[in-house]
């Protein structure tokens, strides 16, 4: 019985060393380094999110978003993609979307924090922001440009020793700065397009 127990404990430990060997990375080229900042405040987390989008870097997005992350779409997104958001959109679905989106190598110009809006620093381990974000995304295949501008509620929380983005709720699309009569969609429509 003890031998059986010992084998049961040793086998997975031994096997894990073989099956879970990561690949070797190329040494970095210094001029391409993405300058992420330490996630010691909510603002730093959101800065890293902007860098991750601008550089189409899945790793940066994955490190900024916590395991308990939840995304809630706006009503326009829900009407465009009925049923897609029926199950909660957590980190797993978020990373599947981000990896698929970045695979298409979009060219993203992101301004995630409208300068006219002031946001609080984290206090006591939690921060809630009301922000407006704005993205220009160029489709690399066709060269066409898509714009996204929206009002959103974000929640950042201190987990362990680092801040993370834990909640993102799109409220509504906002006007195109170049044509105020045009209503732009939220990033929810991009999530909906890749979720299917």
């Amino acid at each position: 019985m003890r031998t059986r127990l010992l084998l049961a404990l040793l086998v997975p430990v031994l096997v894990s060393g073989c099956l879970f060997e990561p690949r070797e990375a190329e040494p970095p080229s210094t001029q391409d380094a993405i300058e992420y900042v330490p996630r010691t405040s909510p603002r730093n987390v959101w800065t890293n999110c902007e860098l991750a989008l601008t550089n189409a870097d899945g790793t940066g997005w994955e490190n900024a978003v916590h395991e308990s992350f939840l995304y809630v779409p706006d009503s326009q997104t829900l009407s465009q993609y009925p049923g897609v958001f029926a199950t909660p959109w957590g980190k797993a679905r978020e990373m599947t979307f981000v990896n698929a989106w970045f695979s298409n190598r979009p060219i993203i110009q992101a301004n995630l924090l409208d300068e006219e809006i002031s946001v609080p620093d984290g206090s006591g381990g939690r921060a809630e922001w009301d922000i407006i974000y704005y993205l220009n995304v160029t489709d690399r295949q066709t060269g066409s440009l898509a714009k996204y501008r929206a009002r959103a509620t974000l929640v950042f929380e201190l987990k362990g020793t680092y801040w993370f983005l834990t909640y993102w709720r799109d409220e509504s699309g906002e006007s195109d700065p170049d044509d105020p009569q045009v209503l732009l969609p939220t990033l929810g429509v991009v999530r909906g397009a890749f979720a299917g």
Partner: protein, 701 residues
Amino acid sequence: MTTRTRTVFLLALIVLVFGGLSAWAGEEEDEGQAGQDRDGDGEVDADSTVVELTEFERQQLAAAAADSLRSATAGADAPFYLGLRNTPEVGIQAGVLKVRTYAGLENAFTFRQSSTFKDNLDYSYETYRKQDKTVERRSAGATYTSGTQLPVRLDLSGNWDWSEDITVNFGGLRNFDKRDAKKAALLLSRRDIVLGGVKNDVLVAADVIDQKAENQSQRNDLTEGAINGALRSRARLAEGVNLATRLYGVKRGGESTLGTSTNPTSTTGDTLGAGVYYDRALLKGSVVVSQANYDKRYLDFRRNSSGIIDTLFVPPGESKVVEELQERDYTTIKWDNALRLGWLRLNGKLTRDMDTEEYRYSQVGFRERFRDEANVSLGFPVGRDSLAIAYVFKWAWDDQIYQGADDPRGRQYSKNRELKLDWRRQLFRHTKLTASFLTGLSQETAEDKGDGNGPFNENDRDRLTGDASLKLDTAWPGKLSTGLLFQYRTTEDINLRATKSANNNFRETYEIAPSYQWPVARWLRVSQVFRLFIQYQEYTFGNIVGIDKDDNYNKRGNLTTTVTLDPTTRLNVKVKYDYGSRFNATQSRTDAAGNDLYRRDQEQFTSRIDLGFKYTISPWLTLDTTTYRAKDRLEYPSAPGRQTITYSGEMTVGATVSKTWAGDNPVTLAGKVTKHQAYGPNVTETNRDYWDADVSLKWSF
């Protein structure tokens, strides 16, 4: 819809509700004159007093069971009409996000031989606190089922759904999103038709949809009819082995309007599935294969290669609306198996999914996805221990041929492996030891098509995670219980390409968390939890000249003390104090002995006290109030004298009601109302001062 129409609708609903109430009151007067004689034997029942909640639940369950039993067993010789139950309901739900008021009415007629007719009316109105937005919804529906009255079962349904969402964005732009949809459906079904030892279910359905919608000044109308049929069969192949098959087909056709374009629509689809289910001695499981496909013609806006609407840059002379044709094919194969060998349980699950879709106009073009997944788990007891081992493997890829392209984009591969081991041992009578070990590797790889350009994107990366924890729990019944957790976690990010590998890093986290709960007396409980986190982050290429990445070291500790008092049977008091400190440090240099030295960048000290009271006035009414005060001090050692101190707090006062007036026609009032007032840097205009409520009033007669 005008205000007048909305008012008339509400008045009609109120008349219906009060009309029902009057009828109920009339019945109650009649019952008062004859006494409470529910069993109809002419004698007043012995227990005719108003009953408490638990008795109400018993009566409701009994009434519902009696209704269904009566209709199910009532044969062709029973009266055609068996009963009617009406359920109106009104309520209000308010929170930090929105306030919703609603009302509804459901009438359920029961006939002999399980036949029923139900109709419902619903109305709701939402206003949003953070936005200039209102949403109004109205719906009505009716369903009829023939039960066993006819040789085949007939189900008829009709629905009307109307909604209007008016949103004014931050820039003052107003948008109307309106929808008015009507649907009628018919379903004929016959189950358990036995032919040659095979049991069959046959279902035939038809429906008609009429939808009028408008959003962002664009029409989106649809008028469509459909017919579909399904055949499900099952047969016993051998002892403990069954075969099940299903065949489904659907045909839809109609007309749609999108923007200013109108065009016919159609959908044709079918599904074929088969499965073998076995349960024999040692093995239990199933093998299921299913394949589905459809062709769909519809009006759609132009979409780019990611499938997102793209109407800003439409080529000259072309419309932003196209007559799209979508074809989709989906196949899935699943094997699910459980092996029982005495003390051993071995479960396995294998799944393969294949999916292709193609568009005539969308820049998506042709897209295909493939996914394999394997889950294997093993569990067994070993003396006083129990062990569980699980392994998960996932492998998937997707590829795309953009509209007009000759060659595919290149496959994007995703591979995930995870191994988990759990061990539990009862050390002593009241002491349990739990150990867990988990390791996982996820890999993203873009295909290198060998054309000299390398992989088609720069996102190749690996992520290796590990987690080992040891937990000791001791619980003396009715006395002290303690816990001790030690956890070690690692995460390594490896970007393979030179353009992204500068950020490769390895993170280690140590967590120690001792705790105890002490029931000092029946009216006094004390608990404390201390948590310590230590985290190191090391950049793999941080020592390369030109790479400006510094390792860092962070620590955080929290002590939470909770005292719970029940000084009387009605009063509960809770006091909680939380103290925490945290610092973040960056490596500044390495000394001659090779030790890394760190510079503190930020120090944070937080303290918070919570106080809560809960008073039970009666079994159906509870009052509660809570408050907290917190102080947060942030210092920057590299900038002496620079610090930020913030204060925050909140107070809530609330009540919870749960009252039922039981009887044959019960009325239930349930709800919770709380007033919030808060201050602090995280408090916005919306959550500074607001009511939180969820109250409903429901009748059933």
